[in-house]
């Protein structure tokens, strides 16, 4: 049984100019021990997906569908139940480490906060636990550093602190939203290595636009385009044999593959084409792509793809 099974998840934002759909009928599951990457261009709804699982979307978001976590639909759970789940069962590593830490609290306090909330650690035990966490993430002189404020750390260190906060209560599922954004190449590589080691036997939902990060960390990858999953499969296979034209385009646009960007722009939310959403940018589009909306179909060995060519 999967740890988190999402079925028919749709998210819409209500705004003054009407309702804007952002995620459309997502079906998605993570099994215990899997590390799934969700990749896509900015604006395709990746972050919204992570936030909707955490139920942290602003109040003008309308969520439908279900997300079964350990047999419970967390989309229908009460706020109190969610507070029990957040941080303890499902933890999140927020993107942009520069703003994700409260500037007026010491990092030690911020890490300890989750522990006090969800565990019975108090007093010295709490401090020992925080020190252990910091040490495990390779932060030197933890006793001294836990008294410091976020602005006193470098970007890479802050990222580690965020990871420490997420791992504090030993959660079942970690959602990492762009964990390496804003870091320079060297620090990024270090952070990835660290993430890989600490996530070795954990369940991870990695949200990223960076193919390298995904291939380094994820066992499975889902590709998101204009609010829909267009392709899903084990990372290695998916990267080696991309099936969907969009995935192919993505891989071709990475610098290592020679940087051939996909022509055109991804459609703005609410203005998606009727047929295949990728159709206007697709180099191998067919006539019926314009009118028929493809569905996500199983395709061979544990892979799924949303393209009329594979029908």
């Amino acid at each position: 049984m999967s740890l988190l099974a999402i079925a028919d998840l749709s998210v819409q934002f209500e705004s003054r100019s009407g309702t804007v759909p952002v995620l459309d009928h997502i079906d998605f599951a993570i099994n215990t021990g899997e590390r799934v990457a969700l990749i896509g261009e900015s604006g395709c709804g990746k972050t919204v997906f992570g936030m909707s699982v955490m139920r942290l979307l602003p109040s003008n978001a309308r969520i439908t569908g279900s997300a079964l976590y350990a047999g419970r639909d967390i989309l229908r759970a009460s706020e109190r139940e969610m507070q029990q789940i957040r941080g303890k069962k499902i933890a999140m590593i927020s993107q942009n480490s520069a703003f994700a830490l409260n500037p007026v609290l010491t990092v030690g306090d911020q890490i300890a906060e989750s522990l006090t909330l969800h565990t019975s650690c108090r007093g010295e035990g709490l401090e020992r636990e925080v020190i252990r966490l910091l040490t495990s993430l390779g932060i030197e002189r933890p006793k001294e550093n836990m008294q410091k404020y976020p602005h006193e750390f470098s970007g890479g260190m802050r990222e580690r602190i965020l990871i420490a906060m997420a791992l504090a209560c030993n959660p079942d599922l970690v959602i990492a939203d762009e964990p390496t954004s804003g870091l320079d190449a060297l620090v990024k590589a270090q952070t990835l290595r660290l993430l890989k080691s600490v996530m070795q036997d954990r369940t991870l939902l990695l949200i990223t636009h960076d193919l390298g990060t995904a291939s380094a960390l994820a066992s499975h990858t889902a590709v998101l385009y204009a609010g829909e999953i267009v392709e899903y499969g084990p990372t290695h296979e998916l990267f080696r044999h991309p099936m969907h034209p969009y995935t192919q385009g993505l891989l071709a646009s990475s610098p290592s593959a020679g940087f051939h960007p996909i022509p055109g722009m991804s459609p703005a939310p609410g203005q998606v084409p009727h047929g295949c959403r990728f159709c206007p940018r697709c180099s191998s589009a067919m006539d019926r792509c314009n009118s028929t909306h493809p569905s996500l179909k199983k395709s061979g060995n544990n892979r799924q793809v949303r393209c009329l060519r594979y029908d």
């Binding site: 209500e14 705004s15 003054r16 602003p58 109040s59 003008n60």
Partner: protein, 273 residues
């Protein structure tokens, strides 16, 4: 939706006030200071809002008074915002020692209480409408300079300004064509709120009677009524109209200011539907 409607309504009210001020000679049935009837007559068809203790028509005074009060609010706001925008941009753009010196000077000027200083400075001239608005505008700009300087400073360091510099644009051109337009939202908001602030301050000054009592404006009208016994006699038509006129325009300006601020700073309207 609400914001736009609010903004439109308040702009419409402001236009109404301006129209009244501009067309005062056509709207007002009598002159502002002409004695046209017996003192303290209640409203009737001849005198829409009755007469004051000198026998002047209150409605006509109200109409003519709008000119002075509007000049007061808007001229001093215009002056104050222009000074603080120019100075703020120049300081923010050039920075360095000039910036340092001016900031220190501002620091020293800040503790001097504005209101008494205003009264002191107006005595250097005859306390007329124009003089008081000028002094008020200049004094009011002291606080504004810092407000404009901060975003100008951060703008001056952005890549597109660097870019403009690198293609050899002159400093003047960069400041007027590149920095100023980017500051326009904050300047506009500042102008609207400053107008409201100065308008109310002007009316207040004239209410406590610290300048020309012969000038017909809403503040001196309130002052006349207040000191002339309007409250104990219950002569509502004498004291209420100028007060409500001030309240009206102040409210319109305040709402316009808040609406503009929200539209320029979308964060303020999070979740607002």
């Amino acid at each position: 939706m609400t914001r736009n409607i609010l903004l439109r309504v308040s702009v419409a009210i402001l236009f109404l006030y301006f129209a009244v001020a501009l067309l005062a000679p056509f709207i007002a049935p009598y002159g502002a200071t002409a004695i046209v009837g017996a003192p303290l007559q209640p409203p009737d068809s001849e005198h829409l809002l009755g007469t004051n203790n000198v026998g002047q028509d209150i409605f006509s005074q109200l109409v003519y008074g709008s000119q002075v009060t509007l000049i007061f609010g808007f001229c001093s706001a215009l002056l104050s915002v222009s000074i603080s925008t120019c100075a703020g941009i120049v300081l923010g753009y050039y920075g360095g020692s000039v910036d340092e010196v001016v900031c220190r000077v501002l620091d020293v000027l800040m503790p001097i209480p504005i209101f008494p200083l205003l009264i002191v400075l107006t005595t250097f001239f005859n306390p007329g409408v124009v003089q008081v608005s000028i002094v008020m505008g200049v004094l009011g700009s002291i606080h504004g300079i810092r407000l404009i300087r901060a975003p100008a400073l951060s703008l001056a360091e952005t890549p597109f300004i660097e870019g403009a510099k690198s293609i050899g644009a002159s400093d003047l051109r960069i400041m007027s064509r590149h920095i100023l337009p980017n500051l326009m939202p904050i300047v506009t908001v500042k102008f609207v709120t400053a107008s409201q602030h100065f308008l109310v301050m002007g009316v207040g000054l004239s209410f406590i009677g610290l300048w020309d009592t012969m000038t017909v404006d809403w503040g001196s009208m309130i002052q006349n009524a207040y000191s002339g016994g309007a409250l104990s006699l219950g002569l509502w038509w004498w004291i209420l109209p100028p007060g409500l006129a001030v309240v009206g325009i102040s409210l319109a300006l305040a709402l316009a200011g808040y609406s503009l601020e929200e539209s320029f700073n979308p964060r303020l309207e999070v979740n607002r539907i």
